[in-house]
Symmetry: C2
């Protein structure tokens, strides 16, 4: 039989998070701290808006770019957040931020283009870089002037300019919120390299003491802002995400809309009405709960290992004494499901723990994690 | 400023149907016969299932390939339809058949691969062929042994084998249902060329006297069956479509699922529950209505021009005396919205009329069409 595959498809592998999901399905009563979705339900008002939309037969095609009313509400939201209001036609709504990312990469990232990621990175970013046969560059998430200088030297040596600077703040997997100074460094870098900035703000609603800063408030002219409703309003499975662009990049949005005509077609209609309501629906109670959990798990973990301070999102990313693939296997024997750090970083000795989980499960799981680390340290010493 | 685009994105243009949509938005009281979606609402039971799913918090991620319960119900449906039951793991659910097509092309269609289309074709097919830098071949929809022989000679001359045979029966835009003999010819061709068959059966529910035959009932081993709920259950904007594969092509489904992890992630969760109910929900009343409309519009049009007999779907595709781009422009001056035939065919002198429209509008629009054709014939003679 001839090869049934196109060459490009060999550039992609199954997500390691999905492998943990599949494993989870086989374990009885797992302590599942691997899941990247809130455990709270869709807020009642948002749910009601979607139900009403279905009753009102909001089930036909929407405009490819998304409902005008939703794009207006998004522009309003972003204006309040960053001080800069995008044009409604510079906003595209798609079936989640993952779809937005794919449309964006298809539109702007060519073979051998240089893409900067911040390590640890969300696992989809390097997968998309590889799929598009682009060249990844990384800087650590605690970067400062020195790391940017090193990167600059490397780019000069490779005789390449960055095409795209791609990051999430707050970070998945560490919860790190980039400082204003760091965002300014990225902004300068983008100017100097003539690079597009893609700021994934999907966890922007989950900040606690330290407040999330939208990249568009630092460099409006070069920043594409990506966001959605999966995390803030527990709509992971309902598929509404968006991208907003400055006038300089209107053409990117237009091409993404064109490609969407042939791919996702539109984000689910009734869900888009839910998203409009979501933009008016705060999640203060949910945030207070998340902060309480974060404090608990950070308190427990910081006694036995080191970890970046989890400013936001709903993850912690502690160091572990052994390779994360092996650690995850050992944890599964104790019913504990975690995501191995190596899929988010070149550093293999870390683990992602999600605290978007019921407290009793979280506490039991965190305790097992702490015991495992303590035991491993004993063994290794 | 440097080029912000990746090379590949220049291979795609705005859908001409969408251009008509945009135009339609600017006309007062248009007679809109351009729309490819049913005018009936989502059946009550299906709507209720989606509402219940939202109430039950079916809003998180589903498995990437789709809910197991939905894939089981799809396997059951296909078994009843074609006599061959696909394995549940050989079914993938995505955000509509357009998404399925894109995942499929990304997975199997490489540069310069030969893809056979049946002319007239659904406009997304040649767009995807071009986007993937593949080579399109076509045969007319009334093909027989002779046209297959000609194609075979051409392929031999070009020293290429077909990688993919892609078609929709019933057809969008003509309504044509391929005969058993034609499907057998395609089956033989696929065997001889070692080609994958992709049978788009999205209009399979819309057949009237002549019954739709699933390609999988003719050649189960080589047929990928594509279908969804957009047309049969008026769920165009709710985004649930699927593909089922024979064991030979399990690997294609696996790769499509992998790519979906990084792109659409999953079809909207609550809508998947609606789809399960849709598979148990007949549309006899809607079909009777569609047939009545088809008879009316066919009766009117066949008096003034020629057109393929519209076996199924909800379109007619009459010949017109002038170029379809010009005809559409003239029709708009009379408030009539149509889709130009040139986007579906190398023959530019035809028009697509959708009869999924309220009868009074349909009748008025069809009358204007008939008048235009008569006037043009007078002028040209």
């Amino acid at each position: 039989m001839r090869d049934i595959f196109a060459h490009r498809i060999h550039n992609i592998d199954t997500s390691e998070i999905r492998k943990v999901f599949d494993l989870a399905a086989k374990i009885k009563n797992p302590l599942n701290l691997s899941i990247g979705q809130p455990d709270f339900p869709v807020p009642a008002a948002v749910k009601e808006a979607m139900i009403q939309a279905l009753k009102d037969d909001k089930s036909g095609y929407t405009p490819t770019a998304g409902l005008v009313q939703l794009r207006e509400a998004i522009a309003e939201f972003l204006a309040a957040k960053s001080g800069v209001r995008p044009a409604v036609d510079d906003v595209i709504v798609s079936t989640g931020v993952a779809s937005i990312l794919f449309l964006l990469f298809q539109t702007v990232v060519g073979k051998n283009d240089a893409v900067l990621l911040i390590d640890p990175y969300f696992l989809i970013y390097p997968a998309l870089v590889k799929y598009h046969e682009a060249r990844p560059y990384t800087i650590p998430e605690d970067f400062g002037v020195d790391q940017i200088a090193e990167l600059r030297a490397q780019l000069r040596k490779d005789n390449v300019n960055l095409k795209l600077i791609m990051f999430a703040s707050p970070s998945n997997p560490t919860g790190k919120i980039l400082t204003r100074h760091q965002l300014e460094l990225l902004s300068e870098l983008a100017e100097e390299q003539d690079a597009i900035i893609a700021s994934d703000e999907i966890y922007g609603a989950f900040d606690y003491e330290k407040k999330h800063i939208s990249m568009a408030s630092i460099n409006a002219e070069r920043t594409l802002t990506l966001n959605g409703f999966s995390k803030s309003h527990a709509m992971t499975g309902l598929r509404v995400g968006y991208l907003a662009a400055p006038p300089r990049y209107s053409g990117i949005v237009q091409k993404m809309v064109t490609l969407q005509q042939y791919t996702m077609v539109c984000s689910p209609h009734a869900m888009q009405w839910g998203a409009i309501t979501a933009l008016r629906t705060g999640i203060d109670n949910e945030l207070a709960l998340m902060k309480k959990r974060r404090d608990m798990v950070y308190g427990m973990l910081s006694k036995v290992t080191t970890l970046p301070f989890p400013d936001g999102a709903f993850y912690v990313y502690p160091d572990i004494p052994i390779d994360s693939a092996e650690f995850v296997t050992q944890a599964i024997e104790r019913r504990l499901l975690l995501v191995p750090g190596y899929i988010f970083s070149t550093n293999r000795n870390a683990i992602r723990i999600s605290y978007a989980t019921r407290e009793d499960i979280l506490e039991e799981g965190a305790q097992i994690f702490c015991d495992m680390v303590a035991e491993l340290k004993d063994t290794l010493h």
